[in-house]
Amino acid sequence: MKEKKTIFTFIVILAGSLLLGFLTGVWSGRINGMLEALDTTRIINALSIGFAILFVLFHLIVCGISFALYRNVRKAYDQRTENDEEIYEQVEYKMDLPLLLGNLAIILSLVLFGVIVYLYKKCTLEVMLSKALLIISLIVFIFGYVWVIVLQNKLVNLCKEISPEKKGNILDTKFQKEWMESCDEAQRTMIYQSAYKAFNAANAACLVCWVFSFLGMLLFDTGILAVIMVGAVYLTLIMSYTVAAMKQEKPYTEGGKL
């Protein structure tokens, strides 16, 4: 009974997606015509200035919050007493937030900088103003990388103080490998479980990205590159997971693996 319901739900979702795709295709031609009639110059000029300001504010705010969180964690660890075992768990948990903020800052920085460069090419602002905005954005982009690396270095060093068996320097290209090798069974289990959740989320995200890049190609003439890049990322994700799983499942024969 449950299986029939599952199949029915799948068919409904499939039919709905087909209908939506058909209607999008029919309307894309009309929407394209409407967009071409719009005067987007003023919008692009305003966005050029707006995004540059947003970029500066974004990094200042996130950098400030991240370092404040790190300082709180550092203070809590430095003030620990000898018999206080719970403090270690609290510190390890609280370290995750500035780490997350740093990673988010890097990713959003890449996106925002890309948008700013795109708008620079399309805008019709005064040459000096548009160049100044671009140079300020470039400086902020580099500053973004610098503060995130400094923060991550401090967090990794704190982690190594708490757990002296941990090895690795974040400036080293082999950091991921060394860090993983210094993790014990419980830490590796945690990493594997988190990685599987990330895999599932990335799986769904690739499909959504394909839809948007495809619609962008139809409606805004963004070109085929975005569609191909999403495909390349999706392929890398699925293939790397499948190949790793196959290696785990290789059957044994007497004397060792096949």
Partner: protein
């Protein structure tokens, strides 16, 4: 989790903290903490190591309840 344990009790008898217990059995303080909280079930190897250090059997320290 159906697996419960008396690791904290045995660790207190030994008079070691989580960090030192971890060093004795070859894992991190974090893992000892997770085992004691019931958030992680150790591998057979690790359970045997813990039992040996504590001078007890695996069944003395870890209990499985359906």
């Amino acid at each position: 989790m159906p697996l419960t344990n008396k690791l904290k009790e045995y660790r207190s008898k030994l008079g070691v903290n989580q960090q030192d217990m971890g060093k004795l059995v070859g894992v991190s303080r974090q893992t000892i903490s997770q085992i004691e909280r019931g958030d992680y079930s150790p591998s057979v190897t690790l359970a045997l190591k813990i039992a040996k250090i504590c001078g007890a059997t695996v069944e003395d320290i870890f209990q499985y309840e359906d």
